[in-house]
Each structure stands twice: as structure tokens, then as C-alpha cells.
């Protein structure tokens, strides 16, 4: 169905490379010994705006024509895409309206405003963000910048996978496995496409919160299945209830299977990453590392790439989690 090729990621990288951080790929002897494996962490929490989302937002927005740029954009997002669209709009001199949940982390709401966007808060129980977004797009003739189900967004996020591949090839390392968080599936669709191109034998796994394991289930059933449980998770960035049409069409081809982790396991991982990797990681950004540290899959003696996707966590929550260690 969807014909998405790594070349699209190469093109995106030419477009965005001067406007994003080439994020580090680091290892930790402590973690390697603990896990008995060779692990490489890709640090998208160090990306400007605090998550990988900047890559897709810049790739999309920089391709708008002058007329579209003058009219501005609208986006809905739990927070990381919000900041990325706000920042990308700012550096392109554009107006942005962003629809965010009332209960999004403060740091995400504040930063989105700081980058100059107008923030519209909505209630996740009574209101539908897509409807609000589509209405604004129609009424104000603004382009809607979707958070994941868009080939330019997926190609932009995929540039992180291109950087991983380049680093590993430079070091002469062949990875066995790739673990990556999955909300709507844009990051993993893009990065797994590039990694499968560079390393055809790599096995790619999505990682989701236990109660939001829609990609895991959809992969098992080989068709899009939503989760219907009325539960929540501290992983505010990963609360999508079903895979995107486009992202799933890619992910069903690139992924081996889905994994999931509990909030309690995520909290312990946040502590581990602070203590041992000296990193501030948000809950959604820590799920792939959580799957690794909790042995959700056999990793002994393997070479594993683990995506750390974001670091936008409120100081209060971070402080509370670390204090309880």
C-alpha cells in the first residue's frame, strides 16, 4: 500500500540537517555489564525542543509554499509535537495555533507558548482534538500539521535513524535489534525504515505502555485494532489509542512484534537513566529503555539500539520519581 522508501529520509535530512541537533549515540559500560549486551542509546531527549518531534515538524513546515506560510499552521498534540511545530513555525516566521490537552505537562504547554504559538487547551474526556483542529484549519485556511500520519513527518523523524545508521557504520557495528517507543508510530516507522535499509537483518520492536499497546495488538492481528480500555498512563506522549493508517502500513512491514511496559517499570527506568546515564528522560521517552532493562525480550550478547525519544518532564514529577529511589 504505502510506498515509503529510505530515500525520502535522505531527502528530508538534506532539508533539515542545519536546523536540528545531530543527537549523540552513546553507550554505558554499566548498562552493558548489567544487561550482558552491547547497547547504544540514541539521545533524542537532547534534541532542540526536547524531543525528536522537531525533525518531522521542520521537514513538513519548511516545504510549505509562501502562501501557506503566510496563512500559518494548526496542530494538535499532547506536547512534544506542539513544541516542535511552535518552534519550527517561529524560525520560519509563521503563526501557529496548537491544540493541547488541559492536563498536558506544564513544561510542554509553557514551552509551546514560549516559542510564540497560540495554545488552545481542550478537555480530553469531552472534546475531540481532531475536530477542533480541522475546524480551525477550515475556518482560518491554515495547514494542519498532523503529529504522525503524514509521510513528510515520518520522513523527518526517520532522519534520527539515518544518524544512527551512519554512526554504527562508522564504528563498524552491526546491530541485532532496535527498540523504539510507539505512540502514533511516526518515529518508529521512519527510523525502522532507515535501519532496515542499512542493516537488513536488524529486528525492530515497538514499545508501548501496557494500557496503550494498540500497535502490539495490531501487529499480532495484522490489522489496525484500537485499545478501548478506559485507563491511563504516565507516558503522556504515547496515549494514541490506535496506530495511524500510514504509520501502520509501514510498521507492519518493518517491525517484528510489539512489546509493552508498566508505569512502575517506567519510573524505575527514569531513575536508572538519571543515576547511570545522567539523563533527564520523560516517561514516554523511557519505554524502550524500560523494555530493555526489564528483559521484555531476550537480549543476551546482542547489539541493541535503544531510542530515548524525549526529555520533557515536569520538574515536580521528575523530582518526585528520583526522590523515591
Amino acid at each position: 500500500m504505502t510506498d515509503f522508501k529510505y530515500t525520502r529520509i535522505d531527502e528530508a535530512y538534506k532539508r533539515i540537517r542545519s536546523q536540528v541537533l545531530r543527537t549523540p549515540l552513546v553507550s554505558s559500560e554499566y548498562i552493558n555489564n548489567l544487561i550482558e549486551a552491547k547497547v547504544y542509546f540514541k539521545l533524542e531527549n537532547l534534541q532542540w525542543t526536547g524531543s525528536f518531534k522537531l525533525r518531522g515538524a521542520i521537514n513538513k513546515i519548511s516545504q510549505l509554499n509562501l502562501d501557506q506560510k503566510q496563512k500559518g499552521v494548526v496542530a494538535y498534540s499532547s506536547g512534544n509535537h506542539a513544541q516542535a511545530v511552535a518552534y519550527a513555525s517561529k524560525i520560519n516566521g509563521m503563526s501557529a495555533k496548537i491544540i493541547m490537552p488541559e492536563n498536558a505537562p506544564k513544561i510542554k504547554i509553557e514551552n509551546t507558548k514560549k516559542y510564540g504559538a497560540e495554545v488552545i487547551l481542550y478537555n480530553i474526556l469531552n472534546e475531540n482534538r481532531e475536530e477542533i483542529g480541522n475546524k480551525i484549519a477550515r475556518d482560518e485556511d491554515r495547514i494542519l500539521i498532523k503529529p504522525y500520519d503524514d509521510l513528510d513527518i515520518i520522513a523527518g523523524q526517520g532522519t534520527s535513524g539515518k544518524e544512527i545508521a551512519e554512526e554504527l557504520l562508522k564504528l563498524n557495528i552491526l546491530p541485532d535489534m532496535y527498540l523504539c517507543c510507539c505512540g502514533g508510530g511516526g518515529l518508529i516507522a521512519g527510523t525502522s525504515t532507515y535501519l532496515k535499509y542499512s542493516f537488513p537483518n536488524i529486528k525492530c520492536y515497538s514499545v508501548e505502555p501496557d494500557n496503550f499497546d494498540d500497535t502490539k495488538i495490531s501487529l499480532e492481528e495484522n490489522s489496525i485494532k484500537p485499545v478501548t480500555k478506559k485507563l491511563t498512563s504516565i507516558c503522556d506522549a504515547l496515549l494514541a489509542r490506535q496506530p495511524g493508517d500510514i504509520t501502520f502500513a509501514i510498521n507492519r512491514k518493518t517491525l517484528i512484534k510489539g512489546l509493552s511496559v508498566s508505569d512502575e517499570e517506567v519510573k524505575n527506568t527514569i531513575i536508572q537513566l538519571a543515576e547511570n546515564l545522567k539523563l533527564v528522560v520523560e516517561p514516554g521517552g523511557a519505554v524502550a529503555a524500560t523494555a530493555l532493562l526489564n528483559k521484555k525480550i531476550e537480549t543476551n550478547n546482542k547489539t541493541i539500539v535503544v531510542m530515548i525519544s524525549g526529555g520533557n518532564i515536569d520538574n515536580k514529577l521528575f523530582s518526585k520519581i528520583v526522590r523515591e529511589s
Copy 2:
């Protein structure tokens, strides 16, 4: 007096490169806009054992002969050199005894033990760590691994400067300034030597806690001056009361002048680095960034390299600092 050349750092790098992390050099658009400068942070907090100290320890210990390795080593340290010597001894299959202050951060004491070293705690008010160290070295015929006043240690720490230079040259960037923490002065002696070699016009500045500004004063007076004030600082890694003989002989040639920062300013920087760079940084590791953020020197429109030297801070203290933001 001391004839210390960058070539010694090149040789050290050949020795240690496979046993340390090539730490990232990253920028932050947020900080660049805030400071109106181009800033590159060298992340030695991500180094294995949580600080740059591993570089010097491995460079020294890997050069011991078989007889010396069998007898083992002894070291005194406030904590980062302790962990580094313990770790380097472990990977060389050697015994290590480490003398540490009773009130050192728990994380530093625990990690030193975790790497298999025997830890001997002393009281900083009544006891002298050099005396204890020298006695053990004599009695047990162990090599004393000094924390900074040793050319092999300085050359090892200098490899971080070599990595900085290589990255900047690759990016075609000429730095104007270099800000680096200073305790005994080993890291800044090594790194400033390499940076001055690579970029002859770079201006190098040491940064110390206000009450431990012995290098600043010694540079002003052009001879080694101790601080005598009976005060303390949260920067546990930077409490040296006077420059080393060897380190100062180097630093008086490579440094322009010394800067100093208050504990309160350091705490605010730790919060900034957590929020905006997503990094866990210990107080001593944050002083160079503190000097930058508090404009201790004119940095407008300059290209500046800032050393983040370590991240070994107790969870409780880190949590408390971040919570109060």
C-alpha cells in the same frame, strides 16, 4: 618549567580510546538564544563512571608494569577520581584502596565500592588524606595514583580536549573561548593545552567555587596561593585549596584568567541544565556553565566551549534542587 606538550595527549588517546566513551559535544538553540552566543557543551558527565576522571586513571594505570599491577594501587579523592581509579583497576584485574571523605556524596562512595575497591573513609577536619595515602603506599608497596598533579593524569584528562578539537575542526568551527571547572587543575591543564595547540587564539578560563578560587588568585599573583578561608561549597569535586605544582605550571601558560561562582548560582544552573539540556550534572560539573549563564565574562556573539565535567550527584540533593525550581 614543566614541558608538557599536546603530543603527550595524542599518545594517551591511543592508549585509552577503546576504554572510554567519546563523549558528545552538543549545542542548545535555547541556550544560544538566551546567551546570544554559540555554545558547545562537552558532556563528560556521560563518561563512564560519571566524570572525565576515567581518562586520566586509565592512562596512568594501563602504563603500570606487571609487578606494579600485582601490588595494586592506592588513591585519595573526593569521589570522581575514586570511582575512576576503582573502575580502571577493576578492568585491569588489580586491587585498589581508595581514601575518601566521610561526607562524600553517597553515590560516589557506593560506586567506588561497586567497582570492587576497598574504601577507607577519613574525616576532612582531623585527618590528612595525603598522609594516609602515602602511608598505605609505603606500607603495602602500592603505587599512589594522584588525582591531578601527575603528567599522565593530565595527559589522560587532556584527551577530552582532543575530542573537542576534532569535533570543532570537523564542523569548521573556530572557538573564541573555553570555560572549564578547576579543582586541582588537571582537566583544565590537559584540555587547555590541546585546545591552545588546535586553536592558538582561543581564550581559556578556569571556573571555581567562590570560596575555593585558589587558581584564580594564583593566576592573578602569578604564583601558587592557597585559600585559607574555612568555608565550604556544594561543589564537592572542587574543594582543592591550592593549585597543583605541575598543573599550575601548565595553567599559568594556557589560561587568561580565573572566574568564580556562588553555590546559589550553581544550583540554578543545575536546574537550567536539567530543564533545557535534559542533563543530570553535579555541582562541580556545572560551574563552567554557571559562569556562562551568569555572564561572569562577556560572551556576546562569541563561540564558546563549556565543559560539563561530571554528573555524580546524590538523588536526594538533585531532587531537592530541581523541586525548588
